[in-house]
């Protein structure tokens, strides 16, 4: 089909299930190609920790098949559907790898990209190709499969993806430290991450974000919360919790959450339920060094009211800002530029997404390579044209 469009030079918008249609620039296209007909798991070997699925398979379907065998997608993909005005639970597995949006467990289990093993895909020339495979290690030739992650359907349409899966943890607990200012909270999270306790979630929520939580045990705390998740064997968890409390003694006495509350709490983060869809606000995603994160938020806060959610011990900030003509881009980009990292505009009105840069602008020499890669895959610029960058 793409081969035909390629001959006819018709622009193609690549869509999974619409979960993220409202993110990124608005692609200009003559036709919409949806992978929602490409469904189903094609290979699952629990004892080899590997699964293949057609790219349009909904993520919830994959996760329920895995759960039946006591396994999971360890990178805990975030479903931004609800936060961007689309239905939740619609996210396709192809969309997960095309955006490389991983959840809280990324800090211990790696990103979607890290867990991708192989793809079959069709590029903008209409060629079907494969890269990688079904084995954990594979260094034959260039790693094109991982190179496609984060390309938002602008290089190729993945038709099938093969990825690593992991055992579900036997049990989990959360320690919640109360009332820490952002900088001390990030310090505490990173002290925890430097221990060998295999922390699988390190989140900080300032007070205004805590006020939006749903988990009953934390809902009315009325102060900031600094959250550390432990996931391990039942025989280890108490020992690790006590060690963690000792390591973080100076940050106060934490609230302790059992497995059930832990599960509910971290599920909220997977759909970003604290940052629900609204036309009154815009949403940014900022990747930076943990130690710089509080400074970035503080710098932006000088100019506007924000709600921040720090994940990955501060390496990721989700930032809600008031809707404005440029969605706060000028202030956000300046704050990030001087401290290192990059920011992506996740939610804003379509007119805004097409007038400000949605992705962090590239340095000239990187833009040159990026354009080169785009034209190697899609010389006529048919796939999701304008989705990531205005001119290609």
């Amino acid at each position: 089909m793409i081969a035909r469009f390629a001959r006819e030079k018709r622009g193609i918008e690549v869509v999974g299930h619409g979960a993220l249609r409202n993110t990124g620039r608005v692609a200009t296209a003559d036709v919409v190609l949806t992978t929602s007909g490409l469904k189903g798991v094609t290979l699952y070997e629990p004892t080899e920790l590997v699964m293949s699925a057609r790219s349009g398979t909904p993520i919830y379907e994959i996760e329920s098949i895995l759960a039946a065998r006591g396994q999971m997608l360890s990178f805990e993909p975030v479903d931004l559907g609800p936060a961007t005005g689309a239905p939740g639970g619609a996210l396709s597995i192809g969309g997960v790898f095309a955006t490389n949006f991983s959840g809280s467990r990324r800090i211990s289990a790696g990103s979607a990209r890290d867990n991708l093993l192989g793809v079959r895909a069709v590029n903008g020339r209409g060629e079907l190709f494969k890269s990688g495979g079904r084995v954990m290690k594979n260094v034959a030739g260039l790693d094109v499969a991982r190179g496609l992650t984060g390309s938002w359907g602008t290089l190729a349409v993945m038709t099938e993806v093969t990825f690593k899966v992991a055992p579900l943890p036997q049990t989990m607990q959360t320690l919640a430290f109360v009332g820490l200012p952002d900088d001390l909270a990030i310090e505490a999270l990173n002290i925890a991450m430097a221990t060998p306790l295999e922390i699988s979630g390190a989140v900080h929520l300032p007070k205004n974000c805590v006020d939006r939580l749903k988990v009953p045990k934390l809902k009315g705390v009325g102060q900031s919360l600094t959250l550390l998740r432990l996931e391990t064997f039942a025989t280890s968890i108490d020992e690790r919790r006590e060690k963690l409390k000792v390591a973080l003694k100076v940050y106060g006495k934490p609230i302790e959450l059992d497995a059930e509350d832990t599960f509910s709490l971290w599920s909220e983060f997977r759909t970003l339920s604290m940052m629900p869809f609204s036309t009154e606000t815009s949403l940014w995603r900022i990747s930076t060094l943990p130690t710089k994160a509080p400074e970035i938020v503080a710098a932006i806060q000088k100019f506007m009211d924000v709600v921040a959610f720090y994940d990955w011990s501060g390496a990721l900030i989700w930032l809600e800002v008031p809707a404005a003509a440029d969605a706060g881009a000028a202030d956000v980009r300046r704050a990030v530029a001087v401290r290192g990292g990059h920011a992506t505009l996740i939610r804003a009105e379509p007119e805004i997404r097409n007038t400000v840069e949605v992705f962090e602008p590239l340095k000239p020499e990187i833009e040159r390579l990026t354009r080169g890669i785009k034209s190697a895959f899609d010389p006529s610029g048919l796939l999701n044209r304008g989705r990531m960058y205005a001119n290609f």
């Binding site: 954990m136 579900l168 280890s236 943990p290 990059h342 890669i373």
Partner: protein, 490 residues
């Protein structure tokens, strides 16, 4: 006679050598150049020693700026460049050609910055793998990928090969442990790919660069993740009566939700040689040995090893032995890590590096024995069982060109078998010259065209590390001039 074809040197370039030497001298100074033949001969091969070619010149830059000047000069004067680290490649990845300049970055080995708060280190890429861990051990951290050659091999070589090691089951390979690189393109442009944040901005160019075997640019610096050292670690050894039993035991351990840090497999031949070398107490009467290591506190290690022993008991093991102390643990790993060296003391060998789905292990081992028997050769097998990476070591006599050729042919047959069984040609050693022509068994012409177009974006005239990775006939076409016009896919 080794049968891998190496391109004829370009006599035109060789004739210009005196001018090229003067040109480089004036740009980076005489001190960086190795001109004399004895000096150059030290760079004539890597750890794939059957092939040797003395390069026309060796350059040892100390800074990224010098690398940039050298590459720019080579670009302007149509000279091929072989990036090199320590030269421990097992696939001829850093083998020179006679008309090329070897650009060896082993002098660039400084630590630029260690940032414990953000758990990362910035290093010049010529630093050795083990040195990185040595620099950060006092802070309670380590650099995770641990190739057996870690004492010698450089971070640059690891990045170029996407190297793995015994502990990759838990910690991943190089591509999982790197945040960014500084790289010089063939025209001298210095680019920062990735950075120090966890996520990439824009296309994941870093994924393309890691494992690119010196085809895209010369890496001069890298930012790597630091991992907190475990509280403790301890291996156990389980001896089995058959490869089937050992393979099933690995499956059962994983099915029980336990992911050890390492699961290493050795067959009988490997056990004998390594035991003679290390005296680690490997069970000499076993057909197959698993070394399983877990990490954690003393209590956790005890519980986990106990559960693994229970699982192993279901497969009628000959011996189950948990390492008694740090000294025995060290010897168990010394034996495994020195396996190649130990085997090298009794015979020359070719080290294969295919991967297979775990379920195929018994079948693969039977077929490998058959193949080697057909070629009249012996084989020892070492296997990273947790991630399906098989290292058959084919024993042969390097003094007999005829036997060497048989060994290469047996190796090819084994790699084709791996691909047939659903695996791949190489799990961690790379393609180099060794597996170049076999790429067509794993990839279609379209798959290869997709990769080669990426190479062309970074290195439009195909001057970097020529005659490697892609089948020679295709790369010759690329070099012959129409590199910019991409090949038509089948």
């Amino acid at each position: 006679m080794p049968h891998i074809e190496l391109p004829e040197p370009d006599v035109g370039v060789l004739r210009r050598l005196p001018i090229l030497i003067e040109g480089l001298k004036s740009r980076v100074g005489q001190d960086l150049l190795i001109v004399d033949e004895d000096g150059r001969r030290a760079y004539e091969t890597d750890a794939f020693t059957a092939y040797r070619r003395v390069p026309m010149l060796v350059v040892l830059p100390r800074t990224t700026e010098e690398v940039s000047k050298i590459l720019k000069y080579c670009h302007e004067n149509d000279v091929k460049v072989i990036p090199r680290g320590a030269g421990t490649s097992l696939c001829g990845g850093s083998l020179p050609t006679e008309d090329a300049i070897v650009l060896c970055i082993s002098k660039m080995n400084r630590v630029i910055e260690i940032d414990y708060a953000n758990r990362l280190a910035r290093l010049e890429a010529g630093i050795t793998n083990l040195q990185i861990t040595a620099e950060v051990a006092a802070g309670g951290f380590f650099y995770a990928p641990d190739p057996s050659s870690q004492l010698a091999c450089t971070l640059a070589g690891n990045l170029a090969m996407n190297s793995g090691g015994a502990h990759c089951l838990k910690y991943g390979v190089t591509t999982h442990n790197v945040l960014g690189v500084k790289m010089v393109l063939i025209d001298g442009t210095v680019v920062e790919i990735g950075g120090s944040a966890l996520e990439r901005n824009g296309y994941d160019l870093l994924s393309l660069v890691i494992g690119s075997e010196g085809q895209l640019g010369v890496i001069t610096e890298a930012t790597v993740k630091l991992v907190p050292s475990p509280e403790g670690a301890r291996p156990m050894m389980i001896g089995f009566r058959s490869p089937e039993a050992a393979g099933s035991c690995v499956s059962a351990i994983i099915a029980a939700g336990i992911i050890p840090v390492a699961i290493e497999y050795m067959d009988h031949a490997a056990i004998e040689v390594c035991e003679a070398f290390a005296g680690a107490g490997y069970p000499l009467d076993a057909e197959a040995l698993l070394i399983v290591e877990v990490e954690g506190s003393e209590a956790e290690i005890g519980i986990l090893l106990g559960r693994i022993a229970e699982i192993a008991a279901r497969f009628d093991p000959k011996t189950v032995q948990i390492s008694s102390d740090a000294d025995q643990s060290a010897r168990i790993w010394a034996g495994r890590k020195a396996a190649f060296g130990a085997i090298g003391r009794i015979s020359d060998y070719l080290c294969m590096d295919g991967t297979i789905p775990l379920a195929q292990l018994p079948h693969a081992l039977t077929r490998i024995s058959q193949i080697c028997a057909e070629y009249g050769l012996k084989v020892a097998n070492i296997f990273h069982a947790g991630d399906g990476n098989l290292h058959p070591l084919i024993l042969y006599d390097a003094n007999s060109p005829e036997e060497a050729e048989r060994a290469e042919l047996a190796g090819e047959a084994i790699l084709k078998l791996c691909v047939e069984l659903g695996g791949c040609l190489t799990g961690e050693h790379g393609v180099g010259i060794e597996k170049r022509e076999l790429m067509t068994t794993q990839f279609t012409p379209t798959d290869l065209a997709v990769q080669m177009r990426i190479k062309t974006v970074f290195d439009p005239t195909w001057r970097l590390n020529p005659a490697k990775v892609f089948p020679l006939a295709i790369t010759n076409v690329m070099r012959a001039g129409d590199a910019a016009s991409t090949p038509e896919a089948a």
